[in-house]
């Protein structure tokens, strides 16, 4: 079943991400993806995550598709201009990849090639517009296509941003531009997430709440200090701090958050960031 079908059937959908390797040894990535078979409705493949140069998202999505998994192709505007982006969208479609997550992308300075040219010819909103235009048989230059693709278009939003209003305004624009589902930045405060869901209720668009698996108290503190829009409450940090088995505690917290927020949204998006092997355990603990 495709991600789109799962959502339209009203199923509580589950997505999780895998990161392509820095190099050509794809074994571990495929192993991680294999663990998700039958457990998730879509596997996100990150696009040069954190601006670190690696194997491309398109090739990795193709490999997953060949193995009968349901890839979600993440595309950022950092590295390609409008010609390359539109072309890659067409390429994705002919390879059978229909789920596309459109992102702005981190700045180049965050990664391992801080001296690279940052492109940003388009942004997340205009990338969605480009994908929508292609579906309607025209490119951004209004030129006719020979055969048009069909996508299920996604976008991201940060429900923990402060102030939240600019995020809401941009989310609305993304919907207008063609976004059909949202995956969120991680959020660890169910009440705050509920307020966010109330604020976007009128958009009538499915939202998959983002969960980043905690590995230690230090990691939580690091995110609080450095990751925009992510706030781990002190009580959770303490829980992690005091736990003897940090791996188990991280899984337990993730599962608890999923259970607490399940009723307010249409799905969950798990970002294990290198600990993909723990995803099945999180789902077990959350009763999914």
């Amino acid at each position: 079943m495709s991600l789109e079908q799962a959502l339209s059937k009203g199923k509580f959908v589950i997505t999780a991400e895998v990161g392509p390797p820095k190099g050509v040894d794809i074994e571990e990535m495929l192993e991680d993806a294999e663990l998700m078979r039958g457990r998730v409705d879509g596997v996100n493949v990150t696009d040069q995550q954190s601006s670190v140069m690696r194997l491309g998202s398109l090739a990795a999505c193709h490999l997953l598709k060949q193995r009968g998994l349901e890839p979600i192709y993440q595309v950022t505007c950092r590295d390609r201009n409008r010609i390359a982006l539109q072309s890659d969208l067409l390429s994705a479609y002919v390879l059978g990849i229909e789920n596309v997550l459109c992102l702005t992308g981190d700045y180049v300075s965050l990664g391992d090639h801080p001296d690279a040219e940052p492109v940003f010819d388009l942004d997340s909103v205009s990338l969605l517009q480009a994908a929508k235009a292609l579906q309607q048989g025209k490119d951004l230059a209004m030129k006719e296509l020979k055969g048009s693709p069909r996508f299920f278009l996604g976008a991201v939003v940060t429900p923990g941003a402060d102030p939240l209003e600019p995020q809401l305004i941009k989310m609305e624009k993304k919907v207008k531009a063609g976004a059909q589902f949202f995956q969120t930045q991680a959020i660890y405060e169910p009440e705050r997430f509920e307020q966010f869901m109330q604020a976007v209720n009128h958009l009538k668009v499915p939202v998959l709440v983002g969960i980043i698996l905690l590995r230690s108290a230090a990691m939580a503190r690091f995110m609080n200090k450095n990751v925009a829009g992510v706030h781990v409450p002190e009580s959770l940090i303490e829980e992690m701090d005091q736990a003897e088995d940090k791996a188990k505690k991280g899984i337990e917290i993730a599962a608890r958050l999923i259970r607490d927020m399940k009723g307010t949204c249409q799905g969950v998006h798990i970002m294990a960031i290198g600990l993909e092997k723990r995803v099945p355990a999180i789902l077990d603990a959350a009763g999914l």
């Binding site: 700045y107 965050l110 942004d123 205009s126 102030p163 624009k173 925009a228």
Partner: protein, 230 residues
Amino acid sequence: MLVSELKPFEDILEYLDGEKNVFLVGCKGCAEACQTGGEAQVLEMKQKLEEEEKAITGYTIIDFACEKALVASKLRGHWSEVMDADSLLVMSCGIGVQATSAVIDKVVHPACNTISLGGAVGTWPGSERCRQCGDCVLDLTAGICPLTACTKGLLNGPCGGAKDGKCEFEPEVRDCGWHLIYERLKKLGQLDKMREIAPLKDRSKMQPPKHLRSTIMWALEQEEREVAPR
């Protein structure tokens, strides 16, 4: 005003590798203000190069090295020294180096790096920057340029990287441009402007149009080129 800094001395020596006789060109404009091409720096360069066994055939400090007519007339006054040199080392911004190169058929080396100002600044520069994009969107953005105030030049609102009003790139020094735009639109009661999807940027307008490539100044420059010493 253009901001320049001296290149590392080793780089300059590498440029001059295989050359013995050098003529130095300084600039009393911005380069003097930046302490990269004023008389003091030219004399210091002269001494350092002589210590490296280079022969300095002469030097001149031009009022504004960006002005080709001034460069040409100054060089004319030092004609034999210039002709004796294997190359000229120009201690100014990149414009001064290009202007020198444009008026003399000799090898010209840059001694400085010209530092980015992040877009054009006014005659009395403050923090405002303009990238001369050829299609101004300030009406949509409360008078704050998203192309220069936002590190990624985004047109449709903030990315996910803004934290406490600061940009994900160099948060110690950079405000998030879109945070500033949002706050100001809100203050002006114009938040609806942010709800409009911005038109796609026509990047071709970021190149100078033909009529600006062929002005009266340009015609004068052609003339100067003919009378300048070759």
